[in-house]
Structures are given as C-alpha cells and as structure tokens.
Symmetry: C2
Subunit: 309 residues, 2 copies
Amino acid sequence: MNFTLNILGTASALPTVNRYPSAQVLDVRGRLFLIDCGEGVQMQIRRQHLSILKLDTVFISHLHGDHTFGLFGLLSTMSMLGRTAPLHIYAPEAFGKILSDFMASFGEGFKFDPVHHTVAADAPVKIFETRSLEVLAFPLRHRIETYGYLFREKTPMKNVRKEAIDRFGLTLSEIGSLKRGEDVVREDGTVICNSEAAYQPYEPRSFAYCSDTASFPELSGWIKGVDLLYHETTFPQEYEALAKATFHSTTVQAAACARDAGVGKLVAGHYSSRFPDVSFYLDEIRSIFPETVLGREGMVIDIPLKSLK
Amino acid sequence: MNFTLNILGTASALPTVNRYPSAQVLDVRGRLFLIDCGEGVQMQIRRQHLSILKLDTVFISHLHGDHTFGLFGLLSTMSMLGRTAPLHIYAPEAFGKILSDFMASFGEGFKFDPVHHTVAADAPVKIFETRSLEVLAFPLRHRIETYGYLFREKTPMKNVRKEAIDRFGLTLSEIGSLKRGEDVVREDGTVICNSEAAYQPYEPRSFAYCSDTASFPELSGWIKGVDLLYHETTFPQEYEALAKATFHSTTVQAAACARDAGVGKLVAGHYSSRFPDVSFYLDEIRSIFPETVLGREGMVIDIPLKSLK
C-alpha cells in the first residue's frame, strides 16, 4: 500500500554533471507512473532500482526537450526488453506528431504500441483512473502549453467494525450498504448509522506535480491540501524578474503556493544551472514554508498510510 | 598538436547503470569531432571536461537509437548556450527526415543550423577535410546502413634543415620547393635532393572507428596501419553465433581485424548488457592482439606526435 515518489532528475533546461533533466516516478501500490521524461531517464530508473518493464503510464507536462527527450531511449529499451502491453502516454496535443515521427524512424520491430492520449484542460479535469487512484490534469502557465498533474487515492470503501456485526446481527446486504457509506434502515424502522458501525480505514493520499510554471493565484486552490507537492523552483528570489520573463517560479513563489494550498510537504526542483549548489534555496523556501526538502537525484519520499481505525 | 580519443559511452543497445550508449570525441589539435551520439552524451561531455560549444563536426555511424538519441538534447543545449555556427552532421541518408522532424517539433528559436551531409560509400571515400586532417567513410556490415570512419592527419609539409639553408644558400623560392617535397634544380644544373635538405617533421596519425559491424574480410585492408582502432566487441567468442545473427563482432573477431590491419593499438567497446563485468573480454582479445585496452567511460587515449627530426 505504498505511495512513494522517486526523483530521477532535478535539472532545468541545461543538465549538469550531477543533475539530470526532469523525471519522477510515483509508485502507487506497486504501479509505477512516470511523470516527465528527460534525457537519461532509462539509466536513472536503473540506478534507482526501479523496473523499466513495470512502468505503467506516462504523464508529460509539456513538450520542451528537458521533459521529453528521455522517451525515445526509454521506448526503444522497453521494446528490446520485450514489452508487449500498450504504453499509455498522456501529453499535450503536439506530442502526437512527435510520437508518430519517432515510430516512423525508430519503431520498426516494436512489439508494443505507445498510445498517446491528448491532455487538454483549462481547470482541473480527471484524465485517468484505476480502482484506487485518480489523476487530474490542470493547466500551468509556461511559455508553451503545460499541465500539472494531481494524483490522489480515491476515498476507500468503509470497513465495518467487527463488534457491530455481532451487536446488530448484520446481514451481508447490510454490510454492503455500510461499506458503501450508507446508513442501514431496517423494515422495523431501526436505523443503524454508518458512523456507528463503519469507519474509513485510511486517509486517501495525494501528490501534485507542478513544473514548469510561473506563479499564478488559482494554482494553490487546485492542489489544496495535498500530502506532497512538487513545485518547480528554477530561480532564487533574487531572480524574480527572470522567473517572470521565462514563466518559471522562484523559491519564495513556490513556498507561498505550498503555504496557500496547505500542503503537507513541499519538494523543490528544476534548479537553474547557474547554481551548482542550491542549498541556499532551502533557507529562502523554509522562511515561508518550513516543511520543505530540496529534491535531488535518487531521493525517495514515502507518504505513509494514515490509518484511521 | 594533440590527437586524443575520449570515450563517452561503451554500452551496446541497452545501457546499464555504469555504461552509456556509444559516443566518442576525437580531439585533433583542439578541434572536437563527435563520433556517434548516444543518449546522455551532453552530460558525458561535461563530465569529461570537454566543451559542448567547441564541438566541431558530428559523424554518425548508423541510425539505431543507441548511436543517435543523444543528438536531440545536445542540439537543444547548443542552442541554449548560444551557438550560431552551423553544425555539420555526417550521417546516412535517413537522418534527413529525423533531423527535419526534430527541427519541426523542437527547433523553434534555434539560432544555428544543424546541417545534414549524407554519407554513402561502398568503399572508403573522403567525406571531410581540414588543412591537416581528412576523414574517410567506409561501409560496415550491420542490420541497417552503417559506416565506419577513418580520421587521418595529412602528410605535413616538410621542414627544411637550418644547416642546409646556410650550406646551399637557399632562396625563399627554393625553400618553398623543398617544403612541398620537391628537389631543387638550379640553372647551373646543380641538384639539391629533397632528402638532403628537408625532412618530414612527424608521422601523420590516424584513428578508425568501426561500430556496429559483423566481421568481414575487406575491413582490415581499409584501416591498414592506423595508430588506433576502435572496433566493437559486443560479444565474447562463445557468442559467435549470436554475433553473426545480429551483425555484431566478438572479441576474437575484433582482435583478428586489428592484427590483420597491423594497427598500433585496439580499443574495445559496445559491450553486451549481459556482462556487467567484461574484464574477461580482455584475455580473449589479447590472446590474438596484445596491444588492446577495454574502453570505458571517461577513458582518454592520446596518440603522441612521433617526431621524425
């Protein structure tokens, strides 16, 4: 039942000796979701002891090279490793041509289909779901069409308390109603309140990915209360004008977004190559939002299950 | 006056945690020639303290992804770093579509032109030259159209011996003739033999790059006597049948080619991901061709100038 973020790359447009371009893997109960796919991602996945063949679905924020160029090698390697299941890739519309160009030049012999799903949203919209998870896309403000992604567990079925089964002599049908969160109303008029006999087993967990983007007021409302927020911090506060001009965020802007959204924890990244050492970013961010870590290659952030029993 | 090979990647199709896909940089007197361009090349170039902006010309052997996918990030980074000079890329014909597709999706704002020169050869042919260097392409035997490259210094102008200038009272015009390798014949019938008054200052150096290829008899004749040969050794000898089926070479085949060509030194590479440790390759190769090193990421092989004075 893990919900774990793996950070594969924290560089911005120009990678450095130690920083790879943007890529993260969110592991939700063993399903691996790749978010952005900068150059070198297939090697970073191996270094982090994740399985390339277990990658489930890909979400691309935007079509700048530092978020996409790793896809070519990754898809080729998946093919060589024998993948046959389709790979679903959620990305802006223009990815369709990039993918078909790639397949025309390099796709011979592929035994699986990479399938592009066009992402388009001017407010949060659900684009993907499994039994226990849903993914919403929302627009970011960058120089080209860009989306953030919100991964959140669905509210789980309720558990029925063992003692309530005995006390009320619950039938299977009544247990089903209680699991779905309903009250039980018996033919004799007795009401068994859901809260009396059942409980939500755990708090659904959530993660929001926001890169690349200028600061804008709606964003904190869209990611309200997530357990973990990745928000780009390309520049320190001193470079606010450059951040604005390039549609990126500063340390302080990311921190303010985390604070306004009331998130559990902020992880920073997408650092300008101007700064080989970004440790000073942390002071700037923590002055506004203390629950912050600086993302780095190889970092693993687990969001533990909060049991409500 | 250096002539130095930098090895950036020694993986075959599947990179590993420690091995990057194929790429090498040959530094000839400060001009940097990139040979093949696997994923991650821009970071490997930085790690090796080479300058991305000083890359002069690119030579691509063939259009499998492990030899080309690094180009996308490299070209984008060159653009961001402010390159304005055209970048000449020698590659098989099909690269034209790959490059134009790339520029259509990612080339907006580029301030330099990547220029594709089609390589086609069924025997060694000169495709590029500078004042002091020439590059020949020759066909290899792989599953798709593939070329090897031979880099060799031109025979230098001769130096005229200082003592000969005094002894013969040489005129400027006579010195020019001697530098060009000619004898001097004076009006009075005196002949000054070139060998008496001039000498070749150094032995031209040469490097041949052969990847990917099955073994074939003509190859050793085409790269006769090079100072340094890079020849792929995807498989150990035990896997000869697989090498044949996939149009690759074994350790022993590469060694035999080096021996038959009478090269100065052999550097191996393009190792199968089956073997995390390829040290046993070296014994197999050296049993036939002792002057061998196993290429590895970060390796620098200098061919010193052999002065002939």
